[in-house]
């Protein structure tokens, strides 16, 4: 009796299983492709970052050098500007007193301190009426912040002596406040 090998029947896979298998292979290819793409890109970017870092170093050095050169000048200009703003014109005090002094009033002793913007000025006039008028004129001036009167007395010559303590507003030292400058 002859022995016959029966041919094996072809295995037929269902269509959905083939689709699933192809899908799995595509996914694998996609995953591997993406992974290597990301890996290469990361390496490239790391290199790029390093290169940019080396570009930044001389740039930072140049900035630092320029700043070292310019900062002291800037500071000095600022300091000078501040100083210039605070620079006082003592002459304004004299011009103010000349402008405000009534014809029959004479100022004599004079003490001025710029820090307090204070002037102590002694003087004399003929009558109390003129003194009162002088006080009124001073009080009405916006540049006079405060006025204290002391030492009001009648001298041997019959004149009225007085001492004013004037405190001025800061504007007294600004160039344009007093006319005749």
């Amino acid at each position: 009796m002859a022995i016959e090998i029966a041919p094996r029947g072809k295995i037929k896979l269902p269509f959905w299983l083939i689709v699933l298998g192809v899908f799995a292979i595509i996914l694998l290819i996609g995953f591997l492709g993406s992974y290597f793409y990301l890996e290469i890109s990361i390496k490239k970017m790391s290199q790029e970052i390093q290169e940019k870092g080396t570009t930044l170093t001389p740039l930072m050095e140049a900035i630092e050098k320029k700043e070292e050169e310019l900062n002291p000048i800037e500071k000095k200009i600022d300091d000078f500007g501040e100083l210039l703003q605070k620079h006082k014109i003592p002459l304004n005090i004299f011009n103010f007193l000349e402008k405000i002094c009534l014809p029959a009033v004479w100022f004599s002793d004079f003490n001025f301190t710029s820090e307090d913007r204070e002037v102590i000025v002694s003087g004399h006039t003929d009558t109390f009426v003129i003194l009162e008028q002088q006080i009124l004129v001073l009080k009405q001036d916006p540049l006079v912040k405060s006025l204290n009167i002391s030492g009001v007395s009648i001298s041997e010559e019959g004149k009225v002596d007085f001492t004013f303590l004037l405190t001025f507003a800061p504007q007294i030292f600004t160039p344009l406040e007093i006319t005749g400058q």
């Binding site: 694998l28 990301l38 970052i49 900035i63 000095k76 000078f80």
Partner: protein, 190 residues
């Protein structure tokens, strides 16, 4: 026969998902971080380049103000010349019809006067006494005010005089500059 193939495929898909989560996702995040880092570096370089070019423009513009800068240096010298100052006052006083009666420049030579730590601008006060008329004093003060040294007049005092001539005592102030000193911050009250 279908079942083992299905198990293999499903297992393979699960493996892919796990691999994607543990390998792919961190890689993607790293990629995103690096991208941001590159963009950050680009922006930083751009900003630095712009800043440097601004500094260069500023430097070029500043070189056109050499005279003005020299005047500032004259007003705020690191080491003011006391001799030059004295010569200036002698000349100005006599030119304005005044007589120099007395000077006290001692404090200017004292090193202690410059010892205000933290302040770049050092105040250097000194005093002089001059005799002359009122208009002469005014002229003198006008010249002192206009001088590029920025001389401050701290106080003026003079007594009454019948003859029209009087002696005025003036306390003046010049400045020295300490470029290395850092400005004091304003003290905050408690």
């Amino acid at each position: 026969m279908k079942r083992p193939i299905l198990i293999i495929i499903v297992g393979f898909l699960i493996l892919l998902a796990v691999g994607g989560y543990f390998l792919g996702w961190p890689k993607y995040q790293e990629f995103g971080d690096k991208k941001l880092e590159v963009e950050g570096k680009d922006t930083e370089i751009k900003q630095k380049e712009e800043y440097l070019s601004k500094l260069e423009v500023f430097s070029d513009r500043l070189s056109g103000y050499n005279d003005e800068l020299a005047e500032i240096d004259f007003a705020l010298p690191v080491e003011p010349s006391i001799a030059a100052l004295f010569i200036f006052f002698q000349k100005t006083i006599s030119e304005n019809g005044l007589i120099l009666k007395d000077t006290d420049l001692g404090e200017l030579f004292s090193s202690e006067i410059q010892g205000t730590p933290g302040e770049r601008i050092q105040k250097m006060p000194f005093s002089i006494s001059v005799t002359g008329s009122y208009p002469a004093l005014k002229n003198f003060l006008s010249v002192v005010y206009r001088n590029t040294r920025l001389i401050e007049v701290n106080s003026i005092s003079f007594p009454s005089s019948e003859e029209g001539l009087f002696t005025s005592n003036l306390v003046l102030e010049i400045h020295a500059y300490q470029p290395k000193a850092e400005k004091k911050e304003a003290e905050i009250p408690e």
